[in-house]
Amino acid sequence: MNVSYRWLLDCVPGLQLTPEEVGRHLALRGAPLEGMISPGQGLEDVVVGRVVSAEKHPNADRLTLCEVDGGNGVVSVVCGAPNVLEGAWYPFAPVGAVLPGDLKLEEVKIRGEISHGMLCSAKELGLGHDQGGIYQIHGEFTPGQSFVDAIGLDDVTMDVEITTNRGDLLSHLGVARELASAGKGTVTIPEFPDDPHVSLSFERHTQEARVGNVGIRIEAPDLCNRYLGVVIRGVFVGESPEWLQQRLRGAGARPINNVVDATNYVMLELGQPLHAFDLNRLEGTSVVVRRAQEDENGFTTLDDETRALSADMLMICDAEKPVAIGGVMGGLESEVSDDTVDVLLEAALFNPGSIRATSKILGLSTDASYRFERGVDPEGIERAVSRATALIVAITGGVIDGPVLDCCPAGFEADVVSLRLSRIEHVLGVSFTSAEVQSLLKPLGFELVDDKEGVLDLRVPGFRSYDVTREIDLIEEVARTHGYDKFPAEMRPYRPSTVPDHPMFELEDELRGALAGRGLFEAQTPAFVPESEGDVQVANPLTTTEPFVRRAILPSLLRIVEHNFAHGNRDVRLFEIGTSFRKAGKGEPPHEETHLAVVMTGRREPPHWSRQDEFITVWDLKALLEAAAHISYAGAAEVTVEPGVVHPFREELAFVVANVEGHSMGHGGLVSSAEMDVPVWAGDVWGFEIMLPSDPPRSAAPTHVPLPIFPAIERDLALVVPIGNSAAELDGLIRDCGGTLLESLELFDLYLDLEKDGGVRSLAFRLRFRAEDRTLKDKEVDRSVDLILRRLKEELNVEPRR
């Protein structure tokens, strides 16, 4: 909401606050300033100039050669506009002035005549449309006086943030009321020049009113509580007086013509949106308030856009067709134009929900719809229509024809809300007396109806009827007007939460700590992905390229690796914990899982002068995958290998993380070059993604195993293994045969001979034997080793290397 500081001063005479102070007071009332600008900003160099003489340019038919008194002597100025009048006042930019858009004026020669400055149009000053030339201002001025002061641009436009519940603050009156209730003055509705002080009579009906040949009928009483129409005949449409234009500009609005300006003025002042129709363009000179009909498709609004209508939209129609989208925007055809003679002025109360729905469907939010959605004062409508009528009469020369046509299917009845003093203390923690509460709420317009036994019955004023309907709403008003800062803030004892800390957070913390400790950085990427990477579609996506939410995290991380590659970062190790979305039953929310993804490329360790660089390999990936699986599943899931991958020439290595039932919990391996752009200089990219358990196991406290007291015996076995037998098979068999005496088994060497027997591998294991209760004898170990060798030969055709 743009508030003009000067207008506010008119509404609260004697207000002793600067715009900044007004802002601070409003902020403490819940309506902070978002910013402030002066409508005259950038026009400081422009002065008021009087045209002393104007004659045709000797060398150009369309140019005028003027003598202008800009306060600094009379200078000659060449002007391109046709409407220069001798003796009239204009904004004048002398040589050296800077205009909006950083345009600096210099002396120029135009067709042989030197121009010492420029007479400006409204557009050049950023003040509106060009209406056929330069901008004449009316009144008594001194040549050279500041243009900004002269036309009242020395105002401050305050951008006040109004929360959606406070429709009553969307007017100067509303803001003034809030300031006054804070003890900053009394509200008055300002006088305007030549007020004819009209006194209107009302022709009141429930759904249909008619006087003479003008009629109003409400056919959709559920969407329109009240509709008032005033006929004003014989208006002269033209420019508004300067004072009115100043107020509008100060409030950030553009003057259009006197009739429209009058409706805007009253809306900005009192909060009631109004609309003026050209009465003679209404078929049957009547108005019907009804829903759009099915065959009424395209409707052209006054911004010259054709809008598609739908059946639940409330339309203002004449006898035949829609002429306005009720509460949103008028139609092009019936708008007030220069030829308008008779006007029908509309003031209505529309259903907020319906206006919001229409505005949403059309994607069209206007000053009117914005106010109707938030609730317009039902008790203020008559005052608004009277004021607008008076204003139109005063500035257009029109006359009121007949009483106000007033259709009111649903009259307003104020709410009375009860407020218990005990409940105030229960919620706010501080007690208030009845007198204190009254002194806080009365200035806001709440009237005491009854006060007994600690319960106050308060009548809610119409302008607060939308947001104050319950006791708690009044309690908020008490807290707000008392001042939040006046409440104490001391810590008091509390009882512990019954909600246990969710175990997923602990798991995530542990994973993050472990992975960061191993030299990976946590990444965060948006969940939106192209169709190829998601199952679940967003109905109203932000972009057409990423209309899905992701089912996996790894592809997003690969994009991040590409970004890093593009910036020359070769060593990239990242992980992310995020949500994967999968389709569930129709109409149900998607199935969500938490995933961990890891991606690594580049060197294993930072380069160092003491050694050669080593690069991340499949073994680094596998170690990390094992660690992640262990942390997440505490032994209930293991890293295995996809079948058939024991092959020295196989390029794609792939791991599977499987739980005890054999279900896959994730996978990992070398990222295929089809998945991402890898520059030639970059190393292999390794990645994995695992699903995290939704209810992670709490890992049991480890049980201490006493350290051995008897010596161990070590034996090394070098085994010749045909390609096709995996290390895991050997490992399993050796452990099986070794039994409890085999304390550990470690692969310490691997040698590949591709020449021999179509390729063999030699794997060397170190076996460590130990007994818990005695010193092992060599013979016992020999027996174990013999058994291992025999079974290796029998079951896997594996023999010791000779």
Binding site: R492, S497, H502, F528, T579, P606
Partner: protein
Amino acid sequence: MTDDSLIAALRKFETEGLAAVRDASDIGALERVRIELLGRKEGRISLVLRGLSKVSPDQRPALGQEANRVKEVVSTAIAERERSFFVDRSIDREDLTLPSRPPWEGGIHPVTQAVDEISRIFRDLGFTRARGPEADTEWYNFEALNTPLDHPAADEQDTLYLTDSVLLRSHTSPVQMRTMERHDPPIRIIAPGWVYRRDTYDATHTPCFMQVEGLVIDEGVTFVDFKATLAEFSRRYWGPATEVRFRPSFFPFTEPSAEVDVKRVITRQDGTREEMEWLEIMGAGMVDPAVIENAGYDPERYTGFAFGMGPGRIAMIKHGVDDLRRFFENDIRFLGQFAS
């Protein structure tokens, strides 16, 4: 020899052996030490072990344990010394100013770090962490929270829908209702998580971002507790000299509602103090009785407060990051600045 003197001899082998290992200048010298002490036939320790059968049975275990211990210690020392002959030849003992050899640095994302710090403080204040789904229904996201779908407040956070009634949550507040449904008061939780809005990317907006929700429900919780708890949090997070301001605001699910602002006071290295601008860091308020009623609690008995804040914005302020999008680019040079 007596057993005591055998033990004394073993200890002597240990001390002398370790010294000999340390002094061994090459692999050959080391091998001679090994043979002398641990050689199968004539090694001194081996001899003791082999002679155990001649010791009286009641003293055998003690002596055996000691002999094995010494054997382990000496073997380990030999193995270590042996490795030192092959590894780290590159150590230049003359110039220790050469750069060290650290492992790769890793780190937790700055926004997660902010979430963690916020969580730590609230956990110290008795809060536990709760979770809820990111895709939820209109009921949990709006209606249960006293936000009618046809109220402009439902529009303020322009929502991304999956189907007619299923959406990506536009705030973490749905966790309030989901927690209250499953637990009885006293409730004292925070709920960090992702939220989604139909916002285009710019310096201060992204279509998804982290939020931390908070909810307290119990008997006798008042506006005073609300102010005290959030002021306490703010001072712990932003520094003890921080000023905290509560301004009236509007959220459909709290009443009275407030914006919480902080003004930090920064002490420079030279001891001068500088007051910073007021910063808006939280939306909060007393839980609306309609929400308490929707949860199936008696609003006459239970009261509470709720709050929500954006750790992304907080991380921006804390670290001086000028553009929220940096957090999504994940350039490792950027992430490296927040390494732990």
